[in-house]
Symmetry: C2
Subunit: 406 residues, 2 copies
């Protein structure tokens, strides 16, 4: 089902990071659904989280514990239950599972970050999770990234991971990340669950800045269905195992590491869309000629969220009238249709708001018949640009989400 997406072939281990999985029968038995990530002492950690007002209990706890931004020693992740809309009891549950990790890993409960994904509104099966924590701890290994990517899947059909090695002035640095998520995808800060580790000696401010920049260009530039999860979380940890000198935001190596982190995040974010629920098309939307990036993003999201555009993409129908409709309803003050250009890959459809004289239906049809293509829009009123990635809306999206709880 996923569009041009295969399981990751090579995920480099990151010195200072060990991962272990276990079966906790959280939603159903017989699959790995609990992941423990252990970080070396001295790691610097930053996270970005959902802005949904119904933020889940683990998100609330993560925010609290990341205030200081240092001292994190472990992350506990479960699939099958989001621990969202669970009130005070949900916070107690998250704290209890972190305490079990602290006991197993010999650290403080406040040094453990919890993450959950799955059904909203049900309490965690805490006892089964507590019993599984020591098994995950016993399984910790530096090469556990792919198994970890498997363990955090819900309706994902392909495990998602990406990895880079780059040369810095202090030697080679590794960046490896995993993510999960295929629905309720319209991140407003970060997306679902993504964990990215590096052994670079980034300072705490540098970790934050690195994550902020990477997320803006990756997880905050994708949408599957326009629904923003209660559990979106993206965390970057730098174990500082490589090199001897700290890399601050002004250090020459910062740009190299930041670019690698961004590449990993973009690959993960694209993987989320390629595996979007029911997706048969992977579509890049590029909007230029806007007065501001915000305006360009508004037009791009209006196209990406339109059910009529998405169903036309599913049908392989170059129904550009629906794209024009979506641009027109984006609420761009004073937009003049006579300045708007529209293309599918290199095929011009609209020029100056009017059908392009050389456009023929077969040209557009040939583009949208492909599994991957670009919708290009020029608003003709400025220089700002934005790009995002989305997928189509198919029968299977409805099927998956109509049957998810049954």
């Amino acid at each position: 089902m996923a569009v041009n997406l295969r399981p990751p072939q090579l995920l480099h281990p990151v010195p200072g990071v060990r991962l272990g999985v276990a079966q906790a029968a959280i939603k159903k038995p017989g699959r790995d659904d609990l992941l423990l990530i252990e970080l070396a002492a001295g790691s610097r950690v930053a996270g970005v989280f959902t802005r949904n007002a119904f933020a889940a209990a683990p998100v609330l706890l993560c925010r609290e514990r990341l205030q200081t931004g240092s001292g994190v020693r472990a992350l506990l992740v479960n699939a099958g239950n989001a621990n969202a809309a669970t009130g005070a009891g949900g916070l107690d549950d998250a704290r209890a599972t972190c305490a079990a990790v602290a006991q197993d890993r010999q650290c403080l409960p406040e040094q453990v970050l919890p993450f959950s994904t799955g059904v909203i509104g049900q309490r965690l099966p805490v006892q089964r999770m507590l019993a599984a924590v020591p098994r995950a701890g016993a399984a910790l290994a530096e090469d556990g990234w792919l198994r970890a990517a498997h363990a955090i899947m819900t309706t994902d059909t392909v495990p998602k991971g990406a990895s880079r090695r780059v040369e810095t002035s202090q030697g080679p640095v590794t960046v490896t990340g995993i993510a999960k998520g295929v629905g309720m995808i319209c991140p407003d800060m970060a997306t679902l669950l993504a964990f990215v580790g590096t052994d670079a000696r980034l300072t705490q401010p540098a970790v934050r800045e690195c994550l902020r920049g990477a997320v803006a260009d990756s997880f905050n530039s994708v949408t599957v269905d326009g629904d923003t999860s209660t559990n979106d979380s993206c965390v970057l940890f730098a174990t500082a195992r490589q090199g001897a000198r700290d890399i601050g935001v002004t250090h020459p190596d910062f740009g190299i590491v930041a670019a690698a982190v961004r590449e990993v995040c973009v690959e993960l974010a694209q993987a989320v869309v390629r595996d979007g629920e029911g997706a048969t098309r992977f579509v890049t939307i590029e909007v230029g000629g806007a007065r501001s990036v915000e305006e360009a993003r508004r037009a791009a999201y209006s196209i990406a969220h339109s059910p009529l555009v998405k169903t036309a993409l599913f049908a392989g129908d170059a129904n550009w009238g629906r794209i024009a409709m979506a641009i027109g309803k984006a609420g761009i003050e004073g937009l003049d249709p006579a300045g708007v250009d529209l293309r599918l890959d290199d095929v011009m459809l609209l020029a100056g708001g009017q059908p392009h004289p050389e456009y023929r239906e077969e040209l557009g049809a040939a583009v949208v018949a492909k599994p991957e293509f670009t919708i290009g829009v020029g608003l003709g009123r400025g220089q700002a640009r934005a790009r995002l990635w989305t997928c189509d809306l198919s029968y299977d999206y409805v099927k998956i989400n109509a049957e998810y709880r049954t």
Copy 2:
């Protein structure tokens, strides 16, 4: 497919209004697809139109010709082609069809309003329409409302009409209206095509005020798929045939007539949702406890537009976690989940942001198994309220829109 919707049983003729239909083979031959509405001299007319920046040629022409607000003698409506995103040529086409009506009806071209609905981005088959205008003129009759409702359908499965008779101080007044539309429905001013006539002697300001109030509570409170059409138009015409004294906005009869117009518009707007593309559920969303009506509407639309909520409704799944997610992502500044209540009809699910102790899955399931029910939300932070109507997202929505042009 439509939810509890039957063709209108009785549409009272409106003195001063005659309607005639004809076959113009606009999209395909063999069906009535052209409608001519003739208004008596002295009628007062007001319209509201889409705010989509790609407003169709007929919308642009209507806006221009309604500036004066008087003198309109005829409306020409076609189905099968939206005459949108057609540039200057589209305006010429609309003017040409109006000129043919003017010739047939012996009035000025500026006294004719054009309306189109159908595929975007294709030129009108003007010659076939010009040939059909005299046939529509010859068919004009006061009892033509139901045939008119049929002629403007596109993917509608049921013709939509509503009618009221109310007593005023000057005797009985009739209000009758028709509408079409089942997809690209999230009106931002009016919806698709709706035509409402009355014989009340409303003044020009009274016609405008009457329409403004009725549209806010009806067409501007429904959504099928969140997509705003390029052609939304709603027109109210008062032929002034009943009574001898004008009814201004302060006249005692104004409230009576306005209430009847509102009732007709609400019934038509609900019919649009009941016949929403692929709809199997008709859902009322009521949001209270908001700080402003705008805030209440934002929460309501966030629920109504969520694909995850809509697919759960299709499945008859009381998946309230998705409703909570949708409230949470609505962007309501400082919303405290601990103040939020949620119910399905009379079944409480969330009280103060936490699962209600007496809630059981079977209670929610019994509500959402019905074809019609209410999602009630309390935001717990103010007194403002809003209500809107929507439908679910089914396989058939995808099917209809993936196949519309083929």
